[in-house]
C-alpha cells in the first residue's frame, strides 16, 4: 500500500478526531501521533470522531487504548459513528477490559542469591531424580524382558528385525571403516615407538591385543551410542509429542513391551556381532600398515595373531551385551522423558548420547581394572 494515508489525531472540543490509516504497519507513527497529544485534553475526551478514519486495525486500537482506557471507549457515544470502526474498537476494548497483565515484581536485594540457591537445589534434586528414574526404568525393563523371554507368542519378531536392519546391519559399513582406520593408526603408532627398540614385529601384537580386548568393543559401543541411542530417543520422543504413547496406554498396550524390549534385544544381539566386525576390520587395518610399511608378510602377521590367547577375545566380547543394554536403556528412557515439544526432543537426544558414551567409557575403565587385577 503505497498510497497509505498517514495516521493522524487531533482534539477539538473534547472530541478526538482520527484520520488516515491506523495500521500495524504504521505502528510507530500511531504511537508518535498519540504521544504528541496533550495529556490533559486526552483525559477530558468525551467523544470519538471516526468519519475521516480510513481504517483501524486491532493493533492500532490497542495502542489508542494505552492512552484512553478501554472502559471510556466503551462508554462513549457511538450512535452516529461508522459502525465497522466502532465494532472493532469495542471488540478490542472488551478484550482488554479486566485483562491487565500482572505487574512485574520489583527487584529486591538478595534476589540474585536466592536464584543461585534455587538453581543449586534444583540441579541437585534433578540429579537424584534422574538416577532414581534410571534405576526404576532398568528394573521395569528387566522384568518385562524376562517375562517376555518365556512367552514366545509375545515376541515382536517384525519389530525386532526392523531394528536389526536399521541399527545393526546399516551400521556395518561405518563401524568397519572407522575401526579399519583406527587399526591403521594404532599400527603406525606402535611402529613409531617400537622401531627404536628394533621390535616393530610387536606392532602386530599391539593391534591384535588392543582390538580384541578394548578398542573393538569400545569403538563399536561409542559409535552405536551416537547412532542408535539418539535415534531411539528421537523415535520415542516424537511418539511422545504426538501422544502416541498415551494412545498405546489407553488401548491397554504396554509401551515398554512394544517399544523398549525389541530395541533392547536388537542391541543385545547386534552389538556383539558388530564388535566382531570391528575387531576383524581393526586388525585388517593393522595388517595393511604392517604389510606396506613394516615389511611384515601376511602369513607372518596371521601367525602372530593366531598365537594371541583366545581369552583376550572373550574379555572384549563379554562387555558387548553390557554396553548394548546401557545404550538401549538410556536411549529409550530419554525418549520417554520428552515433554511435548520439539526442543525437548533435541535436548533429550543430546542427553542420551552424552550419557550413553559417558557410561560406556566409565564401565570400560572399571572392567579394564577388574580384568587386570584378575590377571585375565
Amino acid at each position: 500500500m503505497n498510497d497509505a494515508q498517514k495516521p493522524a489525531a487531533e482534539i477539538h472540543d473534547q472530541t478526538l478526531h482520527l484520520f488516515g490509516e491506523w495500521r500495524v504497519t504504521q505502528f510507530q507513527a500511531v504511537r508518535a501521533e498519540l504521544e504528541a497529544l496533550d495529556s490533559d485534553s486526552l483525559a477530558a475526551i468525551q467523544q470519538l470522531e471516526t468519519h475521516e478514519l480510513d481504517s483501524i486495525d486491532s493493533s492500532a486500537a490497542h495502542e489508542l487504548m494505552q492512552f484512553i482506557a478501554p472502559e471510556r471507549i466503551l462508554s462513549m457515544e457511538a450512535e452516529n459513528q461508522p459502525e465497522h470502526h466502532m465494532k472493532l474498537l469495542h471488540a478490542v476494548a472488551r478484550a482488554l477490559q479486566g485483562n491487565e497483565p500482572p505487574a512485574p515484581r520489583p527487584y529486591r536485594f538478595g534476589d540474585g542469591i536466592a536464584a543461585l540457591g534455587k538453581t543449586i537445589t534444583q540441579k541437585a534434586t534433578h540429579q537424584i531424580e534422574q538416577t532414581n528414574q534410571l534405576l526404576n526404568f532398568i528394573g521395569l525393563v528387566l522384568l518385562r524382558a524376562l517375562k517376555i523371554i518365556v512367552l514366545p507368542h509375545r515376541w515382536r519378531v517384525t519389530s525386532f528385525f526392523v531394528h536389526v536392519h536399521q541399527s545393526g546391519l546399516n551400521a556395518i559399513p561405518i563401524v568397519a571403516l572407522l575401526t579399519f582406520l583406527v587399526g591403521a593408526v594404532v599400527a603406525f603408532l606402535g611402529a613409531t615407538v617400537l622401531s627404536d627398540f628394533g621390535a616393530t614385529i610387536y606392532t602386530v601384537d599391539l593391534v591384535a591385543y588392543a582390538f580384541m580386548r578394548e578398542l573393538g568393543v569400545l569403538l563399536t559401543a561409542i559409535l552405536l551410542a551416537g547412532r542408535t541411542a539418539s535415534s531411539y530417543t528421537a523415535q520415542i520422543g516424537a511418539m511422545k509429542v504426538n501422544q502416541e504413547i498415551d494412545a498405546l496406554r489407553v488401548q491397554g498396550l504396554d509401551p515398554i513391551e512394544l517399544l523398549v524390549v525389541p530395541r533392547l534385544f536388537t542391541l543385545l544381539f547386534m552389538l556383539p556381532l558388530l564388535t566382531l566386525v570391528a575387531m576383524v576390520s581393526g586388525i585388517i587395518g593393522g595388517l595393511v600398515v604392517a604389510v606396506f610399511s613394516l615389511d611384515i608378510s601376511v602369513t607372518q602377521f596371521f601367525r602372530i595373531v593366531q598365537e594371541v590367547p583366545i581369552r583376550h577375545l572373550w574379555v572384549g566380547l563379554v562387555k558387548a551385551p553390557l554396553f548394548a543394554a546401557v545404550i538401549a536403556i538410556i536411549g529409550c528412557l530419554e525418549g520417554f522423558k520428552v515433554k511435548g515439544n520439539a526442543r525437548s526432543v533435541g535436548q533429550h537426544t543430546t542427553s542420551a548420547v552424552v550419557q550413553a558414551i559417558f557410561i560406556v567409557i566409565l564401565f570400560d575403565a572399571i572392567a579394564a581394572l577388574f580384568f587386570m587385577e584378575m590377571g585375565w
Binding site: L88, A91, P101
Partner: protein, 260 residues
C-alpha cells in the same frame, strides 16, 4: 465486479496416482468470507495448502493478491506472506515458545516492533480471540484442544493480514466460543475489509459468517454461490449436507438470528 483476491484456473493436484483436484476453478473477491465445505478427504486442506504455496500443484494457475504463486520471486513471496494469515487445521503452534511468544514472533520479525510492544499486542490478540490472561504464559503442549485453535487464530491475525486462511477454526471450540469466533471474523472483515477463505464443517459458521459457500466434491468446485442457492443445489451430497438433521437445525437457528 470487485477485484479478486484469489484466482485459480485449471488447478490439478495429485499424490502419486491419487488425483485430489482436477480442472478446479475458483475466484474470491475482496472483502468476501468464503466458506469451503466438502466431505472428509475431499481436498479442502490440500486446496488451502496449494493457494498459500505449500503444495506444488501438478498443473494450473494460482494468483493471490495479484501475484502468481508459482512464479513469484522470493521478495514477492515474502510480501505475500506478510499480507496473509494462515490457521492450520492442527494449530501448528511453535512448541518451543510460550503462547504469547508465538503470537508476538511475526510482529517482531516482520514489523520490527520492540519485544515489549509486540508481547503487549500479542496479549491483546489473545484476549480478542477469547483466551484467558494466564494462557499466554503456557507452552502450547499445556493448552486444551480448543485453546490451541484460539491461540493459532491469534497468531494468524498477528500481522493484521488482508487475507486470512482458516482451516476448521471452530472445530473443537465450545458453541459459545464458536459463535464469538463467527462474530469476530465478521467484525474484522467489516473493519478492515478482510478477505477470508474458511474451511469448515460447522454449519452454524456457514449461516452466521459466510457470504458465499463453495462446495468441493468430485475433484472440483461443485457450486460456488450464496447460501440459499447452494442449499437448493441439486446434488445428493450437497442436499444431504444442508437438509440432513444438523443442516435443518442450523438453518432454523440461522433464520431466527437473522430476523432478530
Amino acid at each position: 465486479m470487485r477485484e479478486s483476491v484469489i484466482e485459480i484456473r485449471g488447478l490439478r493436484n495429485q499424490f502419486g496416482h491419487h488425483v485430489v483436484h482436477d480442472q478446479l476453478d475458483l475466484t474470491l473477491p475482496r472483502g468476501e468470507i468464503l466458506g469451503v465445505v466438502g466431505g472428509s478427504g475431499a481436498g479442502k486442506s490440500v486446496l488451502l495448502r496449494s493457494i498459500v504455496g505449500l503444495q506444488k500443484p501438478a498443473s494450473g494457475h494460482i494468483e493471490v493478491l495479484g501475484i502468481d504463486v508459482q512464479k513469484a520471486s522470493s521478495r514477492e513471496r515474502l510480501a505475500l506472506e506478510r499480507r496473509t494469515g494462515v490457521l492450520f487445521q492442527s494449530g501448528a503452534l511453535f512448541s518451543s515458545m510460550t503462547v504469547v511468544e508465538n503470537v508476538a514472533m511475526p510482529l517482531i520479525e516482520h514489523e520490527h516492533l520492540r519485544k515489549s510492544d509486540a508481547l503487549e499486542l500479542a496479549r491483546m490478540k489473545l484476549a480478542l480471540v477469547g483466551l484467558p490472561g494466564h494462557a499466554g504464559d503456557l507452552q502450547p503442549a499445556e493448552l486444551s484442544g480448543g485453546m490451541v485453535k484460539r491461540a493459532a487464530l491469534a497468531r494468524s491475525l498477528a500481522l493484521e493480514p488482508e487475507l486470512l486462511f482458516l482451516d476448521e477454526p471452530t472445530a473443537g471450540l465450545d458453541p459459545i466460543g464458536a459463535a464469538a469466533f463467527d462474530e469476530l471474523i465478521v467484525t474484522l472483515r467489516d473493519a478492515l475489509g478482510l478477505t477470508v477463505f474458511l474451511v469448515t464443517h460447522d454449519l452454524d459458521t456457514l449461516y452466521q459468517a459466510c457470504d458465499r459457500i463453495a462446495v468441493i466434491g468430485e475433484k472440483k468446485i461443485l457450486i460456488h454461490d450464496t447460501l440459499s442457492q447452494v442449499a437448493s443445489f441439486d446434488h445428493p451430497w450437497v442436499h444431504d449436507y444442508f437438509h440432513g438433521p444438523r443442516g435443518r437445525q442450523a438453518a432454523a437457528v440461522g433464520q431466527q438470528r437473522r430476523s432478530l
